[in-house]
């Protein structure tokens, strides 16, 4: 991309913070579009899922009776875009009666470790997430 060429060499820490359920509002869908475009810029990218945002990663999403597009398979492609740090807030999961086993199994292949398949999702508590947010250069919330 033209912009990507103009910014080559600069690597900033970008965190995309997802706070909304996948359907009902467009924030999750359009937020994911930013993440996919952003992947072309070779930045240090991570995603956070808090509040109802944790529902975006629920496995077995079925939208066929709602007339809405089920875009949940797109999350599986994130690893191929080098978006492999997905932090899910523990307290948000617990408040909704959810655990890691309710989430999609998202993985990425580590080329520096003989292409070993590694989990992309990390469950972190709110204090750890606050530390991660404080380390970022750019935080975009959706």
């Amino acid at each position: 991309m033209e912009e990507a060429a103009q910014t080559s060499g600069v690597v900033k820490r970008f965190m995309y913070v997802n706070r909304h359920a996948p359907y009902g509002t467009v924030y999750a869908l359009e937020g994911l579009e930013v993440v996919l475009i952003g992947a072309a810029f070779d930045q240090d990218v991570s995603m956070a899922f808090i509040d109802d945002g944790v529902f975006q990663l629920i496995k077995g999403q079925d939208t066929k009776d709602t007339g809405m597009k089920n875009f949940s398979p797109t999350y599986r492609a994130l690893g191929d875009y080098d978006v492999n740090k997905l932090y899910v807030e523990k307290e948000s999961l617990e408040a909704r009666g959810l655990s890691e086993s309710d989430l999609m199994e998202l993985t990425w292949e580590d080329e520096d470790d003989d292409w070993a398949e590694k989990p992309s999702i990390h469950i972190v508590d709110k204090n750890k997430l606050a530390d991660l947010l404080a380390e970022q250069d750019v935080v975009l919330n959706f």
Partner: protein
């Protein structure tokens, strides 16, 4: 980045006031990017009551005064019917509605402004 539309939500007002204050303090605003329903801040067909602020005109005037780069996301704009002359032609629409000072471009402009700027702020819900 402005992610909510005019009048329904305060985000655009706050972003406008912040941008104006920052410019008056001598800061450089690299770009204002409009996303989600924020793209609705960029239609010149808006006609608010005369005793209310005109949010769209206010942005257009600020852009003209300060040579401000105001970008409306093309994908979000297509969903919501915000169209410039090129987009109108490309999609066979009979009219365009982009307001002066706004331009339609891609999401890369959002990432690029994050890389180029010291600070990136989001005005939304």
């Amino acid at each position: 980045m402005v992610t909510e539309g005019p009048y329904t939500h305060q985000a655009s007002d706050t972003a406008y006031n912040f941008t104006k204050a920052a410019l008056n303090q001598g800061h450089e605003i690299y770009r204002v990017f409009f996303y989600h329903d924020g793209v609705n801040n960029g239609t010149r067909l808006t006609t608010p009551p005369q005793d209310d602020r005109n949010i769209v005109d206010r942005w257009s005037e600020l852009a003209q005064q300060h040579d401000l780069d105001m970008v409306v996301c093309v994908a979000a704009a297509q969903r919501r019917g915000i169209v410039d002359a090129d987009e109108a032609k490309r999609n066979s629409k009979d009219v365009d509605n982009i307001a002066p000072g706004f331009r339609i471009s891609g999401l890369g402009q959002l990432i690029e402004m994050g890389i180029q700027s010291d600070r990136t702020m989001v005005f939304g819900d």
